[in-house]
Symmetry: C2
Subunit: 188 residues, 2 copies
């Protein structure tokens, strides 16, 4: 059985981070479902690319479990992920069950908004460092990709390939991630 | 007046190459229009991401001139670009007028299919080298990004950021490209 991923897609999501995650995971043999917020209608991303999700976030809640849930960044997108009860519940379910959660750029702020993964090492887009470090719930790192337990976080568009390849590595092994990287003319 | 770009989006286009081009050019202050083939309905890209173009390819033909036309890769997408008379005419118009054309991954094969940019240095996804080198119309290079006259070509997903930043550089200057790169946590 293929591993399963759920990628959240909210208005204002950073489309490169969303699409690199979806595409690289599918190249890595992962069965990816794209869940739209608030529903499955066309989503206007941060730089005006309009993407059609596979299902709505409420449908997603009944289609689990997912081996990983992925939170792309973008300011508007991350705010929507922070405010969504369904997203919060899905992240809490991942944490409780020891399944993977992966967030990039501004999206790690949604982990904090939902009170999840407290005590973990994480990173984010540099501009969100103060917000995430405040209160001491997290141990902020400045690495391109940070893995702590079942949490994967990363920094922005320029680290999105490494972020997605790390997810492939954790779900399907380093050899698969390296093979996917090579076909994209990258190394992992 | 902002510089204008037309990005072709055909079924089977590599969605990372398309979205990185659109997003980075918009970050670089370029007015980007996404033209769908065969029309402006939802386009199913190579790894199943569904993107809504801004206009149809036939509308695009009457909305020029564009400072650059951009051809994302993907096998299916490149085949559709190779077979489209409208795409061929738009590329020929660019070449004749000394405006920019940019193609990545498998898409440089469409330049050859339309008999354009003969005699130029170019590159592509490595698997297309033989097809492009055959017949001697082009001087094949293996660099990540190749600029020759008003033609920009590049190799694949792993070189897509550099490809898009090079377009920003040529249209709006190196300083702008560097600024866009920095905000994405890359360098240019």
């Amino acid at each position: 059985m293929a591993k399963r991923a759920l990628v959240f897609l909210a208005p204002g999501a950073e489309e490169m981070e969303a699409v690199i995650s979806i595409d690289v995971l599918r190249r890595g043999g992962i069965d990816v479902t794209v869940a739209g917020l608030p529903d499955s209608n066309l989503v206007a991303c941060s730089r005006g690319v309009n993407i059609k999700p596979d299902i709505s976030i409420s449908e997603a809640s009944s289609k689990g479990p997912f081996d990983v849930v992925v939170l792309p960044g973008g300011l508007g997108g991350s705010k929507a992920l922070s405010e969504s009860k369904e997203v919060g519940q899905l992240i809490k379910d991942q944490e409780k069950a020891g399944r993977w959660t992966a967030a990039i750029c501004a999206a790690p702020t949604a982990l904090k908004a939902h009170g999840t993964y407290v005590g973990k090492n994480l990173t984010s887009y540099p501009a969100m460092e103060a917000q995430l470090a405040e209160g001491g719930q997290y141990n902020y790192k400045q690495d391109a990709v940070v893995v702590d337990g079942n949490l994967i976080t990363s920094r922005g568009p320029g680290t999105a390939f490494d972020f997605a390849l790390t997810i492939v590595d954790k779900l399907n092994g380093k050899e698969k991630a390296s093979e996917v990287a090579k076909a994209m003319l990258l190394s992992y």
